[in-house]
Each structure stands twice: as C-alpha cells, then as structure tokens.
C-alpha cells in the first residue's frame, strides 16, 4: 500500500488522548513497509543512479554507429551535416546525435507504453476503486511484479499502488526526453545510459499495464494451459456481421464483448482483432478471433469483411478512416491519442450515433467511453452488415488483368517498396493473365501500401497483390494459445537450476513484429528449430501470431504441438506487447526465487546476475516502431542480448562485443576476488542478422554465459556448432574462446575440437563464479 498526498482535517476531537481543535495533518507520501526484504541501493533510481552499471555494459559492448541519415534537422540552426567528424551548430557530433535519436525513439516507446498503462490504471481505478487487489497468478505467483519490485522497491498490492509507480515513470520519461533538447546532453555514452534508463522505465510501464488488465479483466493468470483460439484471415466467418478491432488498449473491445454477452449476441457477430488488442481480447474471451499482425490491416479492410472498424491506440494505420470509407464501413475511434479528426460523440445518445453511422451521415465518430463503444459498434455492425453486403475493393481477376496491361513499367512501385519487390515484372505477367508472380509477392508483402501512393496511374497495386493471394489468404486458419501472462514461481523453481547451469540451453524470446518478407514464416521456422532443440521459447505481440501461422503435415500449428509451460521444449505466448516484461520478469525471478537474491530496489546486482548466468536472448525480426527500441533497451540494461532482423541496421547503432579483445571479457570470480577471463559470453548485446540462418547460429551462441557449468556449456556449444555446420558448412572459428575445460567439449566432437584447441594453443581455464561488480566478491566469514 502506498498513498500520496493524504490530507486529514479534524475540526474538534475529544478523546482520552487529548483534545484537538482544527488539527490538519497532511502527509506527502505514506509507504507501507511491512515488506521485510531489505531494500537495495537504488529504489526509484534517478537517471544517473545506475550510470555506473550502464558504463560497465557499454564498455564491454561499445556502441557501433551506423547513421541512417547524416543530417540533424531537429532545430532551426540546422540542417547540420555531421558526416566526416563535423559537428553541428550546437556542437554535437555524429555519435552523440545517433544516440540522441535512439534516446528519442526509446522515450517515445516508453511514453507510449506508460501512457497506455496510465490510461488503463486511471480508468480501472475509477471503475474498481484504488483498493482493488492485484492478482496475476494466485498462489502460484508470489513475486507478482518482478520488474517493478526490482526498479522501484515497491511491492504493488492494489490498483492504487500502480498509480504511485506511474508518477515515477512519468517523471523519468520527462527528464529523459528533456535531455534530447538542443544544448543538453553532449556525450554519446551518457545518451546511451539514458536510453537504458528509458528501457528500464518502459519495462515497468508495460508490467503495470498488464498487471492491471490481467487483474481486472480476468485474463489467464499465469496459465500454461490458456485456451487455444482461432487465428488467421480464414477464421473469420464471412456470413456474419464482423467487427474489426485494432490497436493495443483493450477496454473498447471488451465493451463490445460485454455488450454481445449481455444481449445474447455471441455467435451472431464475429469480433476479430489485429495487433495487440487482438491478443488481449482473446485473453478476455476465447470466442474472439485474431486476424493477424499489423501488416494484415490493409488487406483485411480491403477484403470487405469488416462491417465496422474500432480503432484504439498504437500501430494503427493513419489512413484507416480513408480505407474504411472505401469499403463503406464506418469507423469508431476510441482513444484520446488517436482521434483521426473525428467529432467527439462521447456524450451523445447511442441511438443518434448509431443512426448517423448507419445512414452514412458521418464516416466515423470519436467515442471515449469503452462501454458506449461496445453498444454503438455492435448495433451499427448489425445494421450496416446487410446494407453493405461485405462490399470490397479488391478487383475481380478480369479487371485486374485489364488494368495490368496498362502498366507503363515506370518502376516507381518497386522503388517505393521497402523490400524491393519486383512488382513491375509481376504486373507484366498479370497483364498476360499469369498471377503467380503477384501471388508470390503476396507472401512477402508487409502490407504498407507505398506502391499505390507512387503509382502515376493510381493503380490499386496492393489490392492486386491481395487478389492474387486471395486463395492463400482465405486458407489462413490456425490456432494460437491465448496470452498466458506471467510465469509461475513454481515453474521458475523447476527450470532455475538447469537454466543457470546451462543444461536448458537457453530462453529465446521472439517479440515485436515480423514485418519482413517471409518474416512470419522465418519466425515460425526459428521457433520450431529452438523448441525442437528443447530451448524455452517465449513469444509476445505480433511475433506470437506469426509463430502460429504455419502448419505441419498433420495440420497442426506450433501452439498445438508444443506445450505452453515455461520449460524446455515449451512454446510460451505471454500475450500482447505490454506482456513483454513477463519475459524479463522470468529472468529476474530466477535470481530472486531460485538464487535468493533480493530484488527490492536492487537493480545492479540482479542485472549482473542475469547477464552472467541466465542464457536468454530476445529476437525482434521485423521492422518495427519506436516501442521496439524501448523494449530492446529494457533487455539490454539487464544484460540480455537482442538480435534484430535485416531491417535492424536502421536502429542506427549496434552494441557489439569484440571477442578479439581479451581484456574486454574479464569478470571477477566472486569466490576469490580474482579477475578471470570469462570468455566472450554473450558476445554481443545488440546485433543485426541478415538472414534467419545467421540469426539462428547467433541465437545459439548468445545463449552462452560465463556461469555455464561444463555439462551446460557442452550442450550450448553443441547447438552452436551444429547450427554453424548446418548453415555455414564449417566449424566456427571461435570454439577455443568458449571451451574453458576439456569437459566443456560436446562429447561427440571430442577429437575434432581437441585438435582445434591444440592448434590455437588453448590452455585450461577456471570457471569463475562470475560478476562484474567487485562488491559482490564474497568476504571470508569471521566465524569460529
């Protein structure tokens, strides 16, 4: 329990204790200190409190800058060209400018999640009261908020407690954002340290949002057996009125489900979602359906299936109103952050709004009341559906062919395509009646629609692509396990030891979007590979959907094949974007539940623990928004490496280790205090892979940690070597850096590796009890 600004006034009080008149008691903050865990050195860390830790990490993984743009255009002194070691008018150099942009992105990401959390918490407090208890997993989850405990030193028990924590987060984002102002921070490493602070804040913000919604909406509570729900375009019933929900803030979608339930209309209307609202609505009701990730928005709208669009916040196409108009479907905007120029009808009677939407008097409305959204959306969908008869703007094949014949091959579309798809060639073929090339593009298209905006003939190219892929699209019908939320403490206890030892070779988390040609397939393939190898595979957000969009020869999708528990060979969908902290939370909980380290306000020690012992890696495969920047930063500060896909270089900088520099890889052996070479494990903190094959080898490699025991290291090495041999056809050239003792060698490769070690002049080393913090070196006890 925490309270702020308590004000007590007593006009007159007579009691045994005494007489009081006009007593006024005001207290700035009331803190419940019944939690007996010792408080660590950094509760509510300021933007500099963890700077020393950051510098340790940044020393090991020095930022490697890859300017996406040589200019800075942020102030009116500019534009300033920063190339070739030039400085801008304000004195800033290229490195600092790049990290400044990263900080901006991370602040936008953190602000987005935190504002989402704020919105949810305020609304839920109004509905359920400040004292509404938080419950994310009953008796199986004692450490209910690992990230929050770690960062703030608070153990949140009620919705009201979250309010206080949000105050802190908002202050931090404010400070961090201000550091990007012209003439503020001037050093790139300090910018980077602030990026890490933004990432940490972001993790807390997300955790709060998910805790609030899991507790109040009855989502699965840390349930490995959360229900399997429908996924894919083909899961939507074209004969029913359809409500399409998009975004990240679920209350309006819940308003819809509640209204359906109340009126007994379940089953008469399909509610289907895209992006994280889709995740969260299926966590609320397994009757809702998931169409797919962000890149399915345009194609789904144009297919004409939705009878009404309900958009909330984040990752929503800015042209969704225009697109909705094309298919004669009305739109409801439901978030103050995304009003789309629509009139605020929140206070108007439902009948009037429905009437205006159905009659087409207005294209859309803004309604900032989730319950009202529910009623308006359902009633409008029911009335609109028979009128518009699934009106679509996807052309018929014969029209498509006729139009394609008129293409003058200017090549603008291909140039505009972020993935360089050979659209002109496909158009030529289409003109001749052959749609196979367009169909192939459908499989690789990320649905951005840029091709259309540049076409001098204004051809609806994206619609052509969708038409060519229509048959495939309608077959998209899969199952996904609804987001389970947190990881149970008992699960952590079971896997804690094998993870720390390395015998479970790693925890691999696929997060963010898979917006890349074949991105979904590639994510699914990587997931299968590591689930089969008995890593623990975790997913969230759009990556979790992509992971489900494949089938094996028996027609089973990965979620049907692999169990949902946090254990070797499990495939764990934690939920939407804001469920991400359950992943970092699991790593943190290993340190607390399993190793008995105090979490409370003890960030540095725990990050040191996780970095040196927990073999976790995050993968964000597709191009993504600023939220990805902040999510990744949150992992980095805990020392967890992140791999991004081929688009990743646009993040402007990588955090790369240098395995050739032996001096970078020393750790303290906490048993003796000696500085010991721990090897380049993990080798990088932020790495862009060009292909899925490169990524898979890197995943296996980045799971190694200095703490692995010999059996664990042997297992990790054998996965690394096996994948390297399979994809590169050779033995990796750095084996000698990872073998500490002969017993680290995978037993089936002994001869081969011993020979390599001999060539490299390898010597046996000790396996330390690793830490980067001298204060963690154990002192000899003075007991008799």
């Amino acid at each position: 329990m925490t309270r702020k600004n308590v004000d007590l006034k007593i006009k007159e009080l007579k009691s045994n204790l005494g007489i009081m008149k006009d007593l006024r008691l005001s207290v700035g903050k009331v803190i419940d200190d019944s939690w007996e865990e010792t408080i660590g050195p950094t509760p509510y860390p300021s933007i500099t409190d963890l700077r020393n830790w950051d510098m340790k990490i940044l020393q090991k993984y020095k930022p490697f800058y890859m300017p996406f743009c040589d200019l800075c255009c942020l102030c009116t002194y500019g534009k300033c060209d920063l190339s070739n070691n030039k400085r801008g008018a304000c004195g800033l150099n290229m490195e600092a400018q790049q990290s400044r942009i990263v900080l901006l992105a991370a602040c936008i990401g953190a602000a987005t999640h935190t504002a989402h959390a704020r919105h949810l918490v305020d609304e839920l407090i109004e509905k359920f009261g400040r004292n509404y208890p938080l419950d994310v997993g009953g008796t199986n989850v004692e450490v209910e908020a690992p990230v929050t405990r770690l960062v703030t030193g608070i153990r949140p028990k009620t919705l009201g407690d979250l309010d206080t924590i949000l105050d802190y987060l908002e202050t931090q984002i404010n400070h961090l954002l201000s550091a990007t102002h012209t003439g503020q921070e001037g050093n790139n490493l300090d910018f980077e340290s602030k990026v890490l602070q933004a990432g940490m804040v972001d993790q807390v913000g997300m955790e709060i949002a998910d805790m609030a919604q899991v507790s109040c909406f009855g989502f699965p509570k840390a349930d490995p057996n959360a229900p399997l729900v429908d996924l894919g375009f083909g899961a939507v019933d074209p004969t029913k009125p359809t409500i399409m929900v998009v975004g990240h803030n679920v209350p309006p979608a819940i308003g819809i489900m509640d209204y359906l339930n109340e009126k007994g209309l379940y089953g008469k209307i399909d509610v289907c979602g895209l992006c994280c609202t889709a995740h969260d609505i299926t966590r609320y009701s397994s009757k809702a359906k998931i169409v797919g990730p962000i890149s399915w928005q345009l194609r789904f709208i144009r297919s004409g299936l939705p009878d009404i669009l309900v958009v909330d916040e984040q990752c929503i196409r800015a042209d969704s109103l225009e697109e909705a108009k094309k298919i004669k479907a009305p739109l409801i905007a439901s978030s103050s952050k995304n009003c789309l120029g629509l009139e605020d009808r929140t206070k108007d009677p439902v009948d009037e709004i429905v009437n205006d939407l159905v009659s087409g008097q207005v294209d859309g409305v803004l309604i900032l009341d989730p319950e009202k959204v529910g009623e308006v959306a359902v009633r409008t969908a029911m009335e609109v559906a028979p009128k518009r008869k699934k009106f679509k703007i996807i052309p018929e094949i014969k029209d498509l062919i006729e139009i394609a014949k008129k293409c003058n091959l200017c090549n603008e579309c291909r140039r505009a395509c972020p993935n360089d798809q050979e659209i002109p060639k496909a158009m030529v073929s289409a003109g001749k009646g052959d749609l196979t090339k367009l169909e192939k593009i459908y499989e690789e298209c990320i649905g951005c629609g840029r091709c259309e905006y540049v076409c001098p003939n204004e051809f609806p190219i994206h619609s052509f692509i969708v038409k060519a892929g229509e048959k495939k699209m309608k077959q998209e019908q899969y199952k996904i396990r609804a987001g389970r939320g947190a990881i149970q403490d008992v699960e952590i206890r079971r896997v804690g030891q094998p993870i720390i030892f390395g015998e479970i070779p790693g925890v691999v988390a696929f997060v963010g979007c898979a917006n890349y040609p074949k991105g979904g397939e590639e994510v699914a393939e990587m997931i299968e590979e590591f689930a089969k190898r008995r890593f623990i595979v975790v997913t969230s957000g759009c990556a979790a959907m992509s992971a489900g969009m494949v089938k094996d020869e028996d027609g089973k999708s990965p979620y049907e094949k692999y169990p949902g528990n946090f254990d070797a060979g499990g495939l764990v969908n934690v939920g939407s974007c804001v469920s991400n902290p359950h992943i970092a939370g699991a790593a943190i909980k290993i340190a607390s539940i399993f190793a008995k380290r105090n979490l409370r306000g003890n960030y540095e020690e725990i990050a040191d623990y996780v970095h040196n012992r927990v073999g976790a890696v995050g993968i964000a495969w597709g191009a993504m928004s600023q939220k990805a920047a902040s999510i990744a930063s949150g992992f980095w500060r805990l020392g967890i490496p992140v791999i991004v896909g081929p688009h990743g270089s646009k993040y402007r900088r990588m955090l790369l280790g240098r395995k050739d520099r032996k001096e970078d890889w020393y750790v303290y052996d906490s048993r003796t205090g000696e500085r010991v070479y721990g090897g380049p494990a993990p080798e990088h903190l932020f790495y862009a892979a060009e292909t899925k094959e490169e990524a898979m080898v890197m995943i296996a490699k980045l799971c190694m940690r200095p703490n692995d025991n010999t059996k664990g290291r042997a297992i990790k090495l054998s996965h690394y070597i096996d994948l390297h041999k399979r994809f590169y056809g050779t033995m990796p050239d750095d084996i000698h850096l990872f073998v500490r003792r002969l017993s680290d060698i995978p037993i089936t490769m002994k001869d081969e590796i011993v020979r390599i070690l001999d060539e490299k002049g390898w010597k046996e080393r000790i396996i330390p009890d690793p830490t980067l913090l001298p204060r963690m070196v154990r002192k000899k006890a003075n007991k008799k």
Binding site: G18, V27, S34, N709, P746, E752, N782
Partner: protein, 459 residues
C-alpha cells in the same frame, strides 16, 4: 576427422530431445508392445571382455519387417582397474543418454522397461544394423568414461534368449537395489560433495552419502563416486569422511572441514540427519521441504510440485524462500524424495514419528517406506486444511507428537493475544502512556513529507 565420420547418421547432443512418431518408425525395440526387454551393464575381469566386440544374438535390424516391435536385450560388459560392481547402475543409465545422441534413434526408460525407436529416415541413411549402434555406444563410453578400459556390447533379439536373459537381469537389478539399500553411511570411507549449486547458493555445500541423497534428488552416492572418478577436477569431488563425531546426528570431521573450506567459513558444522541445530544447508533446487509446525511440535513435508497451500497456509514457494540460499535454517530443511526412503531420515528429530503432514501424492509414492504404525497418523491435504484441524486430527489418531504436547503445554488453548496497535503519531514522537496526561492541540498543522508504516513484529 570427427569420431563418427564413418557412421551413416549424425551423432550429437542436439538429438537428445528428438521424438520418433509412430508414422516415422522403422522398428520399435522393446516398449509396451513386447513383454521382454532389458539393458544391463556388467563389470567383468579384463580377460572376460573382448574390447570392441559387438555381437548380435538373433536377427539384425535389416532382417525385420518395417514397423515391427521386437523383444530386445542390450548387454554391455566392461572391465577396468577402477571399475567396480557398484558403478554398474551408473554406467547403465548412460545407455539412455548416449543412445539418444543418435540421429533418428530414440531411447526411453531404463532397465526392464526400455523402449527404443529407429526412424525410417535414419534407416534409409544406412543405420540398418545393431553393429552401428553398438559402435557408437562403444566409442562414447570409452571416450567419456576413462575408467572403462575394455568393453563389449551384445544385442539380443532372439525372443527366447531375450526372455531367458531378461529373467536373469531382473535378479541382478534386484540384488543391486538390495545392496544399494543396505549400503549405510558407516560402511564407506568416502562421501561426495557437489559444488554445482554454489553458483546460486554460494554457501551451500552439498554432501552426498549412501543414506543421504543430494537435495536435488539427482545424485546418489554411486553417481557421485562415478562422477568424481570421471572428472576429478569437476564439480563433484570426494570428501574424506574423517572421524565420526556423533553417529546419531551424523556429524563427521571430514564433512565439517569440507564445509568450512567450501563455504569460506560460513558453515562450520553439519549434522546430516537433522532439520535443527546444524542441518545440512539448503540450495534452491531441493525436491521437498521439511518445515516445522510449532503449534503441534511436528514437521510437515511438501514437495515442489504441490500446488496450493500446505497446512500452515503457506504454499511451497513461500517456504522455499525461507529455506533456500545455502543457509542452515532451524526448521526449514531442503531435502530430496530419495532421502525420505532412507532410514536415517531426520533421525535426530524423531524421523517419521515427527512427520505430521504431507501431500497425498507424496504419501502414496513413499507408502512402502513409511513405517506401518505411523502412516495413517500422518495427515494429508484432504484430511485437514488448518493447524486447528491438524491438531484435532493428530489427537484423534494419537500421533506420537501428541505425547509431547503436555510437557509443552500445547493442550491448553492459549487465547490469541490481541496486539493493539498504538496510534502514536510518528510526527509527535511521544509515547502514549495510559492516563495521566492529556495533549491539547489547537490550530495545529502537521506536515510530513513521508510516513513509513511498519507492521509490528509478532513477539
């Protein structure tokens, strides 16, 4: 050249989790469809073993029809100066581990219960003879277990022979188990220690004796013995037993010295068979916890898979928190399931006579090891759900702990002491004494930037 270059399929740890489904299988060896199957390791004299020999009694793989399930026996005979019969069981379990390294080959279970499958794809690749599987096992055993100096492998598929030999094997398993159970701490000169858990519980010093399994339940004294020989510099090492200081408590000078050294002086004494005083430290991966219930002066035991709350209203996770971390905590004791089968189980504290509660599943699992006169007196979650109910239960069953209640004056229900929380305003910092004086505040304004509230500790 790699050591398996000439083998037609790949060999590696990465195949360990591989499952071969029914539709993919070429042949099934053992398993639920056949009655007789076994795997057995025997330690022999050097002259009885022909190093590298792989023999097949009966038909070879390629001579069977696709999709058959056949009886199977695997007999490994090994010799070596350091090899002893005690290690047979440990070596035998490696058949499972190494067998699974073979691409397209799956090995489940052990001993008389083995179940193997060979996949079609690997068969087509050329894995069509037991000779190849034998060769792989031979090379892995020889390279991993240096104390095996010579070794021969025999595969038996002739149904009659399998039947005959499996009966023989059953007798050997039984004799081996009986011997293992009979082996007591007094009989041996060496115990084993394990460092592995120090990476998360730095002062935890795991001591493994014949009658006290490692807390994790994964390392027996035999395993320890084998591991210490395989890798003398590895995490599992020999502890010289030293002098026996107290046979009842299980205190040995060798264990104390080792604990002192390995915990950097944090732990100086260890009583192997007690949950009080100087108990064996608790890591973080113990299979179960013995927890003291002061209200009844007894111990409850809960294992880590138990969901829900125990009789003292705490779930495993909460108690694990109080137990873990390599500490010696009076009344919170981490232990393995196997240790509960040991006659030394908490013998200082009264052994089974002190146990008052445990989960149903665990009681069923251990039924054969709980003394007959006490088993029905131990409550399970279906019997009681609170301490008060437990008291009544124990009393009605006349559990041995009840005897002690009189001296401890537990019989009388002490009315719960109401601790009134003093409403002292910390800002005033004045103790509130009963009567005597009054405080008069007029127009008072009290501002506090922060108030910290602490729950008073129970006395």
């Amino acid at each position: 050249m790699s050591m398996f270059e000439d083998i037609p399929v790949d060999i590696g740890i990465v195949y360990e989790g591989e499952r071969i489904r029914k539709s993919d299988l070429f042949i099934e060896l053992g398993g639920p469809k056949v009655e007789n199957k076994f795997e057995l390791v025997r330690v022999k004299k050097p002259n009885e073993v022909k190093d590298g020999q792989i023999k097949i009694i009966g038909k070879d793989i390629s001579e069977f029809e696709e999709g058959s399930s056949i009886p199977i026996g695997i007999l490994i005979e090994a010799a070596g100066k350091q090899l002893e019969e005690e290690l047979e069981g440990v070596i035998e379990r490696r058949i499972h581990e190494y067998g699974n390294y073979i691409e397209g080959f799956m090995h489940l279970n052990q001993r008389y219960d083995i179940w193997m499958r060979l996949g079609k794809r690997s068969y087509k690749k050329g894995l069509n003879s037991f000779k190849i599987i034998g060769e792989v096992l031979f090379r892995l055993f020889k390279s991993e277990l240096p104390f095996i100096e010579s070794m021969q492998v025999t595969f038996i598929t002739d149904p009659k022979k399998v039947e005959e030999m499996s009966k023989e094997a059953m007798k050997i398993y039984e004799a081996r188990d009986a011997r293992a159970r009979k082996l007591i701490d007094d009989d041996v000169n060496e115990f084993y220690g394990c460092d592995l858990c120090q990476s998360f519980a730095p002062t935890h010093v795991c001591t493994i004796t014949p009658q006290r399994y490692a807390n994790c339940g994964a390392i027996s004294w035999f395993d320890g013995r084998a591991a210490a020989r395989i890798d003398p510099k590895g995490p599992i090492y020999t502890i010289e037993k030293g002098e026996c200081i107290d046979p009842v408590k299980g205190e040995y000078s060798g264990i104390n010295d080792n604990a002192k050294k390995k915990s950097l002086g944090e732990i100086n004494r260890v009583w192997l068979y007690s949950a009080f005083g100087y108990p064996h430290t608790s890591c973080g991966c113990f299979e179960a916890i013995a927890f003291y219930i002061p209200e009844v002066d007894g111990l409850g035991i809960v294992h880590r898979d138990f969901q829900g709350k125990t009789v003292n209203a705490l779930p495993f996770s909460t108690m694990a928190d109080s137990t873990a971390g390599g500490r010696q905590i009076d009344g919170f004791h981490g232990l393995s399931i196997e240790y509960m089968r040991s006659p030394k189980l908490l013998q200082v504290d009264g052994g089974w006579n002190k146990i008052v509660w445990m989960p149903k599943v665990m009681k069923e699992r251990l039924a054969d090891y709980i003394p007959k006169d006490i088993i029905d007196k131990i409550a399970i979650e279906d019997d009681v759900s609170s301490i008060d109910e437990l008291k009544d239960f124990l009393k009605s069953k006349d559990h041995p702990v009840v005897e002690g209640w009189k001296e401890l004056a537990f019989e009388e229900k002490v009315p719960e002491e109401e601790i009134s929380i003093e409403t002292t305003s910390p800002a005033m910092g004045m103790p509130v004494a009963g009567g005597g004086f009054k405080i008069i505040l007029k127009d008072a304004k009290i501002h506090a930037k922060k108030i910290i509230i602490r729950t008073p500790k129970k006395k």
